[in-house]
């Protein structure tokens, strides 16, 4: 075959080469703008953290392994971003996001949004919305759990739900509000619920009081703002606070082109008014901000489940309110379903005003992302009187149960069980039989005769109080513990409250309460799951408290936790013969104590801390305390000569998992006490082998974690970033290895 000339021979490869170069350049440009959809796993780009829980499934899992057991202890602070420079907060409970080379967060009581350079902690942009009275009287005036992210690989958005209930869509590159979304990038979430907006006014310059006292109100005609006293009408429009309040604590979740948003409420333990706004879930179009659908978490007359409200469920009626889904939501983009963990109905400890099961309170509800229609639901607590809101994002997993591949969703709870369902159909994976439970003796309280109780996995917290739970190291110790235990109503779980005045047939003035309102799992804890192994790592607390109810003389409720609202703005007027109730909080001297000589009357068990379950079998795999076991000593002569067992450290641990590690922070209430020495008590981030729970690393950090951490890869380096601090001292801290590995 005759040889072609060099040029002729070169042209082909040159053309091919140039094409490849151009294609490569084009692909690089595409990559640097956004990941291709085909590389998304559970909605997240591997190595990124695009959702509050890492991915749409809420796994809190990252496949990264640059940080591992061999080098964890060499982690150092790469940078610290001072959120406090932008304003104050409560404790900083935000988990930031990482997407396409940028770190995103919210911060301060204003929930301002920021983009941060992950390499050096520089602020790239900031956005802040002025909300007037709607911020001043926001029931949840804090940064909250974080923002949400969306991309179609062309555009990127950061979505924020503000404390004053505005839905904001920002260009993720610049922080500029999307002009095509709502009005100048903002959708008013007080619209679209069927309430007219009215001008708002305030009579005091403070925040909403922890009940529903000192709310804003509808402005009087012609009312203006008094800049000196900071009262009056400032031009802000909103839903008339006579209906109650809605709030926001958690990010929206974006699935496909739909933003799914719910609401929180004011705290439920000392409400004054017998009604509040019902919770809803809504879908909005990410491009236009148009409201696509509404799902009522309190079914309205004619809707499925309305008959579980025996006094009626119409919004505004006495006894109706809340069922707010305040925790983050998880979703299965392939199934097109979003999973909503729902809080409880109105009034945390008493439900005489709302007889019935009160759907969809304390339920896991699966909604169709596009239509908002209910696919299935499961109510975990009927007619809740224990403040057992579903407190946490559920976790999605694919596991093999009894030889069958199952798509599951697992809900961690305050009451101490994981409830596991087929996430397509809602069928329990392991039976949860309706089980007879103790009934309330309180007048007009009709407790549910049964509650569903998961048969697997085993509980992770102390539940109820039985004689077998008591310390019994000597007969005298057992005697004293039993005497204290019998003062209050005992039982295995779901113990109804007693009346403080001793007027019940049992004459008891208190009931044992475990888990309490703080869980179990609650706000700051929750689970990480491993999609490779089917393991679930549940961080929780375990404790013991008591509960007593009494009539609050200045609230509309028959009973509540012992509280006196008299004198507060918005409370009922003092009744005739009013006498102050005395010390607030139900602290009736020592009679409702749970300790003797500083020692808990409950035997220490492997509860709280981090419990690892194999969700292929539902069996417990291992358990570790949060940070440390704490030595217990007492000077009480009752314990003379007795070697008391250590107790697990408290506080909700904040856990994520990676290819080989479970990584956790102690949370703001956790960590060894100072009495165990400075080294033990220093704030630390821990790493354990995820198969065995054995600790493989512990690094000192500037301050305790105050939110779930996150991890990502940026320019070839893996970072772990977490929030710390409170008040004016909040920060994001970034850890990384000392040098990029060769």
């Amino acid at each position: 075959m005759p040889q072609k000339s060099f040029l002729k021979r070169a042209v082909g490869p040159m053309l091919l080469g140039s094409t490849m170069l151009l294609t490569g350049a084009f692909a690089w440009v595409q990559y640097s703008r956004a990941q291709q959809p085909s590389t998304l796993v559970r909605g997240n780009a591997p190595g990124e953290w695009r959702y509050w829980g890492a991915d749409a499934w809420g796994t809190r899992y990252s496949p990264l392994d640059q940080i591992n057991a061999a080098n964890f202890n060499s982690l150092e602070v790469a940078w610290e971003w001072k959120a406090g420079s932008f304003g104050r907060d409560e404790y900083y409970r935000t988990t930031p996001l990482f997407a396409n080379g940028r770190l995103f967060t919210v911060a301060t009581t204003r929930r301002a949004a920021m983009a941060i350079d992950p390499e050096n902690g520089e602020t790239l942009w900031m956005y802040r919305l002025e909300e007037g009275i709607r911020w001043q009287k926001a029931p949840r005036q804090f940064a909250g759990r974080g923002p949400a992210y969306w991309t179609d690989n062309k555009e990127e958005r950061l979505v924020v739900v503000t404390p004053g209930m505005h839905l904001v869509s920002l260009d993720a590159k610049t922080g500029t509000p999307d002009p095509k979304f709502g009005k100048g990038g903002v959708v008013d979430l007080m619209e679209g619920l069927g309430y007219p907006l009215v001008p708002l006014a305030v009579d005091d310059s403070g925040a909403l009081i922890i009940s529903d006292a000192a709310p804003a109100r509808k402005a009087k005609p012609g009312e203006t703002w008094n800049a000196k006293t900071k009262t009056g009408a400032d031009g802000t429009m909103g839903i008339d606070p006579i209906h109650g309040q809605i709030a926001n604590s958690s990010p929206a979740v974006v699935v496909g082109d739909v933003i799914i948003v719910g609401n929180s409420s004011i705290h439920g333990y000392y409400p004054i008014k017998l009604h509040n706004m019902p919770g809803t879930i809504r879908g909005f179009d990410i491009h236009t901000g148009k409201q696509l659908w509404v799902f009522n978490l309190i079914p309205q007359p004619g809707e499925f489940g309305a008959d579980t409200w025996k006094n009626g469920s119409k919004a505004g009626s006495p006894g109706v309110g809340k069922n707010d889904a305040w925790a983050p939501y998880a979703a299965d983009p392939a199934l097109g379903l979003v999973y909503i963990p729902v809080g409880m109905p109105l009034m945390d400890e008493y439900g005489g005003h709302r007889p019935g099961d009160n759907l969809f309170g304390n339920s896991l509800v699966a909604l169709d992302v596009k239509t908002g229609k209910r696919k299935w639901h499961f109510q975990m607590v009927h007619h809740d009187i224990w403040d057992y809101d579903a407190p946490m994002q559920p976790n999605l997993m694919d596991v093999t149960v009894n030889g069958q591949r199952r798509q599951v969703v697992a809900q961690t709870t305050k009451q101490g069980w994981v409830y596991t369902f087929d996430r397509a159909t809602g069928t329990p994976i392991w039976p949860m039989p309706e089980t007879a439970v103790l009934q309330s003796e309180i007048p007009n309280e009709k407790t549910s005769p049964t509650q569903p109780i998961p048969s697997k996995p085993a509980p992770y917290s102390q539940q109820g109080l039985l004689e077998s739970d008591l310390i019994d190291y000597t007969p005298a110790i057992k005697d004293s513990a039993l005497k204290m235990a019998k003062r209050c109503r005992m039982g295995p779980y779901f113990i109804p409250a007693s009346l403080a005045d001793g007027s019940l047939p049992s004459k008891l003035t208190c009931s044992w309460y475990a888990p309490g309102a703080s869980g179990g799992v609650n706000i700051d804890g929750g689970a990480a799951v491993d999609p490779e192994t089917g393991m679930m790592y549940v961080a929780s607390i375990s404790g013991m408290s008591t509960t007593s109810l009494q009539k609050d003389p200045c609230s509309e409720f028959d009973y509540s936790s012992i509280h006196d609202s008299c004198g507060l703005l918005g409370a009922l007027p003092k009744p005739a013969n009013y006498k102050p109730l005395g010390r607030a909080g139900g602290f009736e001297g020592r009679s409702n104590g749970t300790t003797i000589g500083g020692v808990s009357i409950v035997k220490s068990k492997e509860h709280g801390g981090i419990t690892a379950y194999n969700m292929n079998t539902g069996d417990k795999s291992w358990w570790i305390p949060n940070a440390a076991m704490i030595p217990v000593t007492s000077t009480d002569p009752l314990f003379a000569g007795v070697k008391l067992p250590s107790r697990p450290g408290g506080g909700q641990a904040q856990v994520i998992t990676t290819k080989t590690l479970v990584i956790y922070g102690t949370g703001r209430s956790g960590g060894a006490p100072a009495s165990m020495g400075a080294a033990a008590a220093a704030p630390q981030l821990f790493a354990t082998d995820k198969a065995t729970g054995k600790q493989v690393g512990a690094v000192c950090i500037p301050a305790k974690t105050t939110a779930v951490p996150m991890t990502f890869m940026h320019k070839g380096r893996q970072y772990i970033v977490f929030a710390t601090g409170q008040g004016g001292g909040t920060s994001l801290v970034a850890l990384t290895l000392p040098e990029p590995p060769k």
Partner: protein, 149 residues
């Protein structure tokens, strides 16, 4: 005696008589209320500032300031020794994790509660010491009209 001297003597005697009368007519100080008052600059501003951050992080998600000021504070704590309030928060608070603050942190929060109730700050930090706190009486302020109905 010169006129100014007479004036001085008159004033002295008047003051002395007033003081003596006060001493005679004042109610006998009980063991609980003897000693200092929370109005006597018993905490430091720096301590209360740190207490504010702790309060915001560990207390505010359950309480707003109203729980510890105005009519509720007065009704529950007025005229009690400060050690009573110390005992209460040490054992029972934060409600979601009772007893988990260090003692100096409880003292800071207590200082902030006093600041919230308008007590004046001084130069000395409030001691994290029950015995010393027992000698301080809580004098809760009379609530302002806007705090009452």
């Amino acid at each position: 005696m010169t006129f100014p001297a007479l004036r001085w003597l008159h004033t002295f005697l008047r003051v002395a008589v007033t003081l003596c009368l006060s001493a005679i007519l004042a109610p006998p100080a009980s063991a609980q209320t003897a000693g200092r008052s929370t109005k006597d600059r018993v905490y430091s501003a720096a301590q209360a500032a740190e207490g504010r951050d702790l309060y915001d992080g560990r207390c505010k998600n359950c309480h707003t300031a109203i729980s510890h000021t105005g009519p509720p504070f007065r009704a529950n704590w007025d005229k009690r020794p400060l050690s009573d309030l110390w005992d209460y928060i040490l054992e029972k608070m934060p409600k979601d994790a009772p007893g988990t603050l260090e003692e100096d942190e409880y003292a800071k929060v207590l200082a902030y509660i006093l600041r919230m109730n308008g007590m004046p700050a001084g130069t000395e930090a409030l001691p994290a010491d029950k015995k010393l706190l027992r000698a301080i009486r809580i004098d809760a302020p009379v609530p302002k009209p806007s705090q009452q109905q």
